[in-house]
Symmetry: C2
Subunit: 257 residues, 2 copies
């Protein structure tokens, strides 16, 4: 049996899916300024939601997560990690949620009552470079957009709780996650890296101290300077020393707390 055979979300065939189990993805993007999250707008509704889907009966959960994200947003991932499983009975039982389930059932001819069952959902998070991934909506969605964390629209179900938990986890585990590696392009400036940390930690860091700290940790390769035409000194570009970075993450990088 091939456990990794991709299963299309768009054909919802309950017989092929794990019942009662879903996956929701919190995709963090970074654009040199703000931390963003990828959200989908459902067809014909003013409702935004996280990209999510279901798990094939013969599909590893991690692989399902990768597939779901790819199908729903067109993004293939460098990094995807489970962070929490949401198991409250009434996590999607307010009246608005029920309306939407009903609407979707009809619109997409999803087998009756499949969406109505109780779901326990596992949240996955990822960190990607916004400038290198152009999300494109699937047929269930009207659009697929990056929204700044600071001004998210209302989200369906308990998706706001899921986002909050993802943020909390990313902060707790900041010293153990390959934040920079995934959220930044191949080459980046020290300022880019600092702004990324500031976005995640939600506070300002001292420029000089940040620079010295990062350099001392020794996982950055300094490349040639690149002059952008701006009216000031050209910044160095950096790339990650991959093996050194991985080694440090295992121990937990001692960033400013």
């Amino acid at each position: 049996m091939d456990h990794n055979k991709p299963i299309s979300f768009l054909k919802i065939v309950p017989a092929d899916l794990m019942p009662g189990l879903s996956i929701d993805c919190v995709i963090f993007g970074f654009d040199r300024k703000d931390l963003n999250i990828l959200v989908l707008k459902w067809q014909g509704l003013d409702s935004w939601a996280l990209p999510g889907g279901f798990i094939g009966k013969d599909e590893d959960m991690d692989i399902a997560a990768t597939r779901i994200l790819e199908e729903r947003t067109g993004i293939s991932l460098p990094y995807l990690r489970q962070f929490h499983t949401f198991g409250k009975v009434n996590r999607r039982n307010n009246s608005q949620d029920l309306d939407i389930i009903d609407h979707s059932n009809k619109k997409f001819a999803i087998p009756i009552r499949w969406l109505e069952q109780r779901f326990i959902s596992t949240g996955y998070l990822s960190l990607v470079d916004m400038r290198q991934s152009k999300p494109t909506p699937d047929i269930l969605s009207e659009s697929c957009q990056w929204k700044p964390v600071k001004e998210l629209p209302e989200l369906l179900f308990d998706h706001m709780d899921i986002v909050k938990k993802a943020l909390e986890q990313i902060r707790i585990q900041i010293n153990h996650l390959p934040i920079g590696l995934s959220l930044l392009p191949e080459k980046f400036t020290m300022k880019d890296l600092q702004m990324l940390y500031e976005s995640i930690l939600n506070r300002d860091l001292d420029r000089g101290n940040f620079q010295k700290k990062m350099l001392k940790l020794g996982f950055l390769n300094r490349l040639e300077k690149q002059h952008t035409g701006a009216s000031h000194k050209a910044p160095y570009l950096y790339s990650f020393n991959r093996s050194r970075y991985d080694a440090l993450l295992n121990q937990g990088i001692g960033y400013m707390s």
Copy 2:
């Protein structure tokens, strides 16, 4: 509908349970010396496993975890936290595992094929004072014992992976978990606290520095000394300043990383 109604594990009635979903508990215990884990020995088999069970259709997952642990070991918990969900297709598919499932099916007259389905399992961890909880096995188990982490017996299915992940998580999140509060009795000595940290971090810490650091953090109440009759100075007893401790955990306590 009452979402919190306890559902007996011992009556396995598939119609009342979430299919394909289970819970496994990694219960850490501490006895002033070693870090232990609670394991069950299955009836009539030489196999050890983590205490686990299933989730009622109208039961919150967190509440199911509490119930399962209580039913299977007799322990009621001060603290129980989800740490990972295990979703590999073949997590319990080696031949020994299948034998055991077959054996259990027959012995306990569990509805046919219930145990044979694919399960995705959420791991919960807890930290308890070994001296204050006397685990007692349920009827599925021959015994229920504490085993030192350093010399665990072979475990069924992927339970060893689950234990390893729990340990990894407890180390990564050590500054955010109420380690001491749950694993130690009401009153304890500084030595107790230090040995606990040493067990979890798996390395020695300097006695003098540890003492000073903990005192400076300010979440310990120093109580009267208690003389035990040993041939040396009597140590102070301490208790936790609960509100101060909670506040610090939110920020992340800066223990020696």
